[in-house]
Amino acid sequence: MHLRLLCTSLILVALALFIYRWQVLDYPLVPDADSAVWEIEAQIDVEGAGESARIGLFVPPRGGSFGALEEDFISSGFALTTQSDAIGNRSAVWSTGNLVDRSTVFYRALFYKLPGTELSEEARTPPADLSPDLRYPPPGNEAEAAAAEQIASSLDADAAGVETRAALAIERLANAAAGTNGEALVGAEATDASIAAAAAAVLAASDIPARVVHGLPLETTRQSVSPEAWLEVWTGERWASFHAPTGDPFTPTNHLIWWRGASELLSVEGADVKRTSFALQRQQIGATASLGQRSELISDPMSGATLLALPVNTQNVFRLLLMIPVGALILVVMRQVVGIETIGTFMPVLIALAFRVTDLFYGVLFFTLLVSFGLLMRFYFAKLNLLLVPRLAAMLVVVILLMVGMSLLADSVSLGLGLSVALFPIVILTMTIERISVTWEENGPPDAIKQAIGSLVVAVLAYLAMSWTLLEHLLFVFPELTLILLAVMLMLGRYSGYRLTELGRFRDLAGAK
């Protein structure tokens, strides 16, 4: 009862952690599930006139539904500072004392879509908590304010809710004829940004908080993109987005928000901007690889517990270590449920580990050869009537010499194969040979051969299970699954059913009744 409780809780804990990390944190369930990572590059070419220059560029703010994996600010001869302003915008400012000729600054970043939340926290922050700087139209412009008031009052008749009003405002402003209030607000050359800004002013006149947002749609790889602008309107519980100039509501899940407000993307002093370009590239990097990078981003305690944050060498050690329980479970099942006898308790698992390096065919070949030659030497030593410990030590030396010989032989067959021989566990092999020979002498060759073959069969099965890529991936990304293996082992520890081999052994008793 106690054991059952323990096993059930182990399994429940493991499953809970597993499902949480899989569903909520979006950890990949299969090894090669690609998750998209966007590489964005903004390039600004400027030409200086020999004076001090300053280039300000908005860069995506922290938070939102994308996280930055890497960010690089590249320039030559510029000093860089990054700033955040009161409304949450971030900008990079490059400055230099003397800009003589053409120069280029880059902003390059990798963005990853954060898992889970459809609406980022930022989309739920009420306007009251935000800075009052985000005001439309900018204070001081009486004419625009008056125009906005008029359009707002003309909407009163047609629009009931906040969302209808926002959509309608954008639609009217986008289609404003020359000489109307709409045109006065939007400006002669209507852009997405100016329409959105005008709509924000109109809504502000009816006391509805609204703001302009600039962002990049992350959809396909494009050599050249430019930021889009749209309108965000506070509905009372969240910021709803409306497309400009159509006025259609949408959810900007695929839009990387770059900056908010009516300001221009670039603010340059002391130099001429020759060219501004954005390039967007969708990179397919393995989900597992991006996991390591993104674990720092997700501010969830569970995401800290990923082995992917470790250095690659250490990761490989853990990949291997976490597969050992699988081999051990195979061993337990083969011993307790099937009833195969093996030499030494964990010998097959350790041999299976060696097989991972040599591959199955060569592994079985080397193992068989090493054990056979070792046994021949052991039988010879038996004739010398040596004491136990010196004899074991002598066997250890023989095994090492055999491995050296076999390495040389193997390397002449295929380069690199020789090294793999050396990875067989020497002490385990020595003890294996010893056990086989003792069994051989005491219980006869059939028993010894049966146990040796049994060990080899279990080693091969353990190897096959341990080299299953999916399993390796699962255990590495979700190490909590090891608890399930533990629970199964604990339950098998009280397994009292027949072994498969016993069905044969006791068959006379089955027929008796």
């Binding site: 059913g497 027949y498 072994r499 498969l500 069905l503 006379d508 008796a512 009744k513």
Partner: protein
């Protein structure tokens, strides 16, 4: 396969996993295991309790004593070398007589003094002991076997194995050596196990290499119908061993000496399950009966009475 499992379960056959979990792990606390793993301790406990055992001539405990063999033997012509921590009869050397320059083994082979000394060294170094622990060699009286099993033994040592559960002898068999088992009575080495009626001590069916048989593979003589002498005394000794040792699930190995009667050879804390095949009968029913009787079986007399009443031919059939 499922059908086979169902039929085995219906026959009350206990499997090795059930033995290890429900009986060995649950009934045999590991702190008690040294009492049966160390034959020297077993012998001392048994003798203190009035259970007869082969006489101990002496011990070889350290390498230096190997040379003192003659002194320990004190003129004995035949003896047995036994590793105190040995298992499954490994490392036991039976010397039948002295001959020029050495000894003759029970198997008839000649063995030199040097070879005997080497064997003793191996025993001391732990070659036959569990986990390779360094060991002690016991020099014991060689039992003069009662001729009762002569017709159905091929050389070596026939012995009796009683399976004792919570002090109640539940099943028994005689283990007879064959040519294949090289004079040893261990069933997994090819010995024959002959089922014994637990109440009367009369042989019935038998098992050889896990298959049921009626005759000895070497002599061809019938195995059924042999009555083991002093059976009542044997049952009492087995039940007494439980009182002294306290292991719930235990194998008691005895031999019958021509002169001294039944002698305790050793105890086993993890007795095997071949006894079921030898008796052609599953063990589960009897173990469950003992569990049901529980506290009624307070002493040896009650337990032996329980055996007669519950496990008799009439009662089982």
């Amino acid at each position: 396969m499922l059908d086979r499992i169902r039929r085995l379960r219906a026959a009350g056959v206990v499997g090795i996993n059930a033995r290890n979990t429900r009986y060995v792990a649950d009934c045999n606390p590991s702190r008690l295991m040294p009492k049966v793993n160390d034959k020297l301790q077993t012998k001392r406990i048994a003798e203190a309790a009035g259970v007869a055992a082969p006489r101990l001539y002496g011990l070889v405990e350290i390498q230096a004593q190997v040379r003192r063999l003659e002194q320990i033997l004190d003129g004995q012509e035949d003896f047995v070398i036994k590793p105190a921590l040995g298992a499954q009869g490994d490392g036991i050397l039976v010397i039948a007589s002295r001959m020029k320059g050495g000894w003759r083994t029970a198997g008839g082979a000649r063995i030199t003094d040097r070879e005997v000394a080497f064997h003793l060294s191996n025993v001391l170094s732990g070659m036959y002991s569990l986990n390779g622990l360094s060991d002690v060699a016991m020099l014991e009286e060689r039992v003069k076997f009662d001729p009762i099993f002569d017709a159905v033994s091929y050389k070596g040592v026939p012995d009796l194995r009683l399976l004792v559960y919570k002090g109640v002898p539940c099943m028994a068999m005689a283990r007879l050596p064959t040519r294949e088992s090289d004079g040893k009575a261990n069933l997994h080495k090819g010995g024959v196990g002959v089922g014994l009626d637990i109440v009367t001590g009369i042989t019935d069916g038998a098992v050889h290499n896990n298959r049921m048989t009626d005759e000895h593979p070497d002599t061809g003589n019938a195995l059924a119908g042999i009555a083991v002498p002093q059976w009542g005394e044997i049952l009492r000794m087995a039940a007494d061993c439980y009182t002294q040792i306290g292991l719930g699930y235990m194998g008691v190995d005895l031999v019958i000496d021509k002169e001294r009667g039944p002698l305790l050879l050793e105890l086993n804390g993890r007795p095997g399950l071949a006894v079921q095949l030898a008796n052609g009968c599953g063990l589960q029913g009897r173990l469950d009966a003992v569990d049901r009787a529980g506290p009624d079986l307070a002493d040896t007399a009650a337990r032996l009475a329980f055996v007669r009443e519950t496990f008799g031919r009439a009662a089982t059939a």
